[in-house]
């Protein structure tokens, strides 16, 4: 939307209302993290700023476009709106974006099939001229999360939007993540030069290896290569598909002595948050005694050369494929990340290789579920329960065991679509845990394996364990959904013979269509990767604190407000969120006021705006000018008339004539 008045400051105040589902609150915070990772837009709890976004559970999912400067601006996340892409979509509206297909130039790229639109819904296919909206010099984006799907508002089975390039018919309407162009537009509109929590990405495609340096005082160097004789034969970024590109870093343990080391250090990085997640792919085909250690070198006044601190390491059986690894860091001083390869004892025909590093100031996932040979699974699995696979059991940091069930070829009712379900399972700590399990949010994220974390369009869903959720049995007893799996679950047996209980599952049959699954980099090297998180979000059951000194200039009924001063106020009825106070024993309204608007009148029933004042001033000026002009003209007329009469009285009998005629 054109107009600077519609922009928010780059840090947007928000208020999460009590009406929101707890799961929705958790997903909203995840959406904010994506904005922080990929743009310079930040969100902070409302502290009394004149304008803020009040997020509530209304009837549906909706938002206004841009900053309306009305105090509290509502944004609704209703039932079934608690998906990250839906929330990002609504916040993009609030930031000032209309839908992609309402661009001024949309007819060059899509055809609106007016006769296929439900009666009375044609107005949903408006477009805005380039005097009202700007495409920010970004090409039309079929993969925008702001684009309608082809079935939007249709009256039958035929699409209402047809893309001029047919290949994009099933691309429009994606609800996974921001597209590249969505991000470009946000970053242009808000003059972002960097994002808030992203720190570093490196695919080692350039000779400068992202400013990484070889360590000194070690025995060997990491090599910048495209392949190694003993493997890997390709990098992970391109999987060898792009001729002339596809580099990675390799530390060979095929030569040298046991104990020989090679250090590779990142450029200096400056943390803001104090916690980071380092993610990368590695290939370990040396000896099982070889090691890859991750250190950080922290700098401060006491340690100008940096102090090393070990963060973690990798050691294990050699494998002939690239593996994904993540590591939580907790650094708050300027630092470098140090990759240390150590040759172990024994024969090696390979070593360690590293590719596609990402470092961001975000929380790491709790676990990884990697499914190998996925296309084979897709080709051979039936739909329904026969094609369902379960993840290993994971344990959260609180001790709860949980598991994911994945219908590879969909359920019987939704074949051709990935279905995902989240289950609690019996585990090692069940006797000391609280049951029913309270407010743990489980998230399954199918990773888009784009090498740059900022460009990943991963697909994720979250469910939250509501300890009050129950069903009533025939005998009247309550069965709590998220109760101890030993009580409400079924006994199952792993392939290794381990027996345990699996609780009931909650999830969705429509996690991701196979068309979208085959797009982007969800399947790479024939593998898919799920990043799994279980997080305690019980803190979100508490009401978000209100600012201490400011009354909320609220506009909807669901906003918490300060109680009225007296019973007198109960029936007085201040309108437009005016606050009633008692003055000299009488109720009086204190009206809401914004930066450029206010309410007035006995009950705040009249709205005023800055523009009204300007109009009044101009009108008054014009009226005064007109009155003065009238007085002047009248005065001149009267004086002139008086002078003529006087002259006629003084010169009687003189006749004026042209004597030269």
């Amino acid at each position: 939307i054109l107009g600077d008045e519609y922009r928010w400051p780059t840090t947007i105040p928000y208020y999460l209302e009590d009406s929101l589902d707890i799961n929705a609150k958790g997903v909203i915070l995840k959406a904010f993290e994506q904005y922080r990772l990929k743009t310079c837009i930040d969100y902070k709890p409302w502290e009394g700023e004149p304008n803020y976004i009040g997020v509530f559970k209304g009837n549906g999912c909706f938002s206004s476009v841009g900053n309306r400067r009305i105090g509290k601006q509502t944004l609704s996340i209703g039932n079934n709106c608690d998906r990250i892409a839906t929330i990002e979509h609504e916040f993009l509206h609030a930031l000032g974006f209309w839908h992609e297909q309402s661009r001024a130039d949309r007819d060059d790229y899509v055809t609106i099939m007016w006769d296929r639109i439900s009666e009375g819904k044609q107005h949903n296919f408006n477009k805005y001229s380039d005097t009202e909206s700007s495409s920010l010099n970004v090409p039309y984006d079929y993969s925008s999360m702001m684009h309608y799907s082809k079935t939007a508002f249709m009256n039958g089975t035929e699409p209402t939007i047809v893309t001029r390039i047919p290949e994009f018919m099933d691309v429009i309407g994606q609800r996974m993540e921001f597209s590249d162009s969505d991000l470009l537009k946000v970053n242009r509109l808000y003059n972002c030069s960097s994002s808030l929590t992203f720190m570093e990405h490196c695919s080692f495609e350039l000779e400068n290896i992202c400013g990484m340096i070889q360590g000194s005082g070690d025995h060997a160097d990491w090599e910048h290569v495209m392949q190694v004789d003993g493997g890997p034969m390709t990098d992970y970024t391109t999987m060898g598909k792009c001729e002339g590109t596809g580099y990675f870093m390799h530390f060979s343990t095929a030569t040298g002595m046991a104990g020989h080391k090679a250090h590779m250090e990142s450029r200096i990085l400056y943390p803001k948050r104090g916690f980071q997640c380092l993610q990368f792919f590695y290939y370990n085909n040396g000896n099982q005694n070889d090691e890859l250690n991750i250190w950080v070198r922290e700098y401060d006044e006491m340690n100008p050369e940096g102090m090393l601190r070990r963060m973690g390491g990798i050691q294990g059986e050699p494998q002939d494929y690239w593996q994904f690894h993540y590591l939580s860091l907790n650094v708050s001083k300027k630092f470098r990340v140090v990759f240390e390869g150590i040759k172990g004892a024994g024969v090696s025909k390979g070593g360690f290789s590293i590719d596609d590093i990402n470092l961001s100031e975000t929380q790491c996932p709790s676990d990884i579920w990697r499914i190998r040979n996925f296309t084979h699974l897709l080709a051979t699995s039936p739909s329904g329960a026969g094609g369902r696979i379960y993840s290993p059991r994971f344990h959260s940091s609180e001790g709860y065991a949980f598991q994911i069930g994945l219908y590879v070829n969909g359920t019987n009712s939704n074949p051709g679509e990935l279905a995902i379900y989240f289950h609690l399972a019996s585990g090692l700590n069940d006797d000391r845990l609280q049951w029913p399990c309270p407010w743990m949010q489980i998230t399954g994220l199918l990773l888009d394996q784009n090498p740059d974390i900022r460009r990943q369009m991963s697909n994720q869903r979250s469910v939250t364990t509501d300890p009050t959720l129950f069903e009533t049995e025939a005998d009247g007893s309550k069965i709590y959904f998220w109760d101890d799996p030993r009580k409400v679950g079924s006994l199952v047996q792993d392939l290794d013979g381990t027996k345990y209980y699996r609780g009931p599952g909650r999830g969705t049959n429509v996690f991701l269509t196979h068309d979208r699954l085959r797009s982007r980099n969800f399947i790479k090297g024939d593998d898919v990767i799920f990043l799994i998180t279980m997080e305690d979000i019980s803190r979100l059951t508490a009401t978000q604190p209100l600012p201490q000194t400011t009354q909320p200039p609220a506009t909807t009924s669901s906003v918490p407000t300060t109680p009225p001063a007296s019973e007198l106020c109960d029936t007085f009825g201040c309108e437009n969120d005016g606050v009633c106070v008692v003055e000299n024993g009488k109720p009086v309204c204190r009206c809401a006021v914004g930066k450029d608007w206010w309410f007035m009148g006995e009950k705040c029933q009249i709205k005023g705006k800055s523009e009204d004042t300007v109009i009044a001033a101009v009108s008054a000026s014009v009226a005064v000018f007109a009155a003065m002009l009238l007085v002047t003209v009248t005065s001149v007329y009267c004086v002139k008339k008086k002078l003529i009469k006087k002259m006629q009285r003084q010169t009687p009998g003189i006749v004026m004539a042209n004597i030269n005629a």
């Binding site: 938002s63 709106c81 609800r175 699996r502 009931p504 909650r506 969705t508």
Partner: protein, 45 residues
Amino acid sequence: QPASRVIEIDVDGGRDQDIFDINEALGLDLVEGDILTDHVQAINS
């Protein structure tokens, strides 16, 4: 291994509903399906 008793709750009821489907099913008549133009709409909603 198949469980002896499986209970699965689909939070989407088996329907892949986009934002506009959700709002339309609720009878909302917002601009372009999910855009508020004034706060009267919000209060009504």
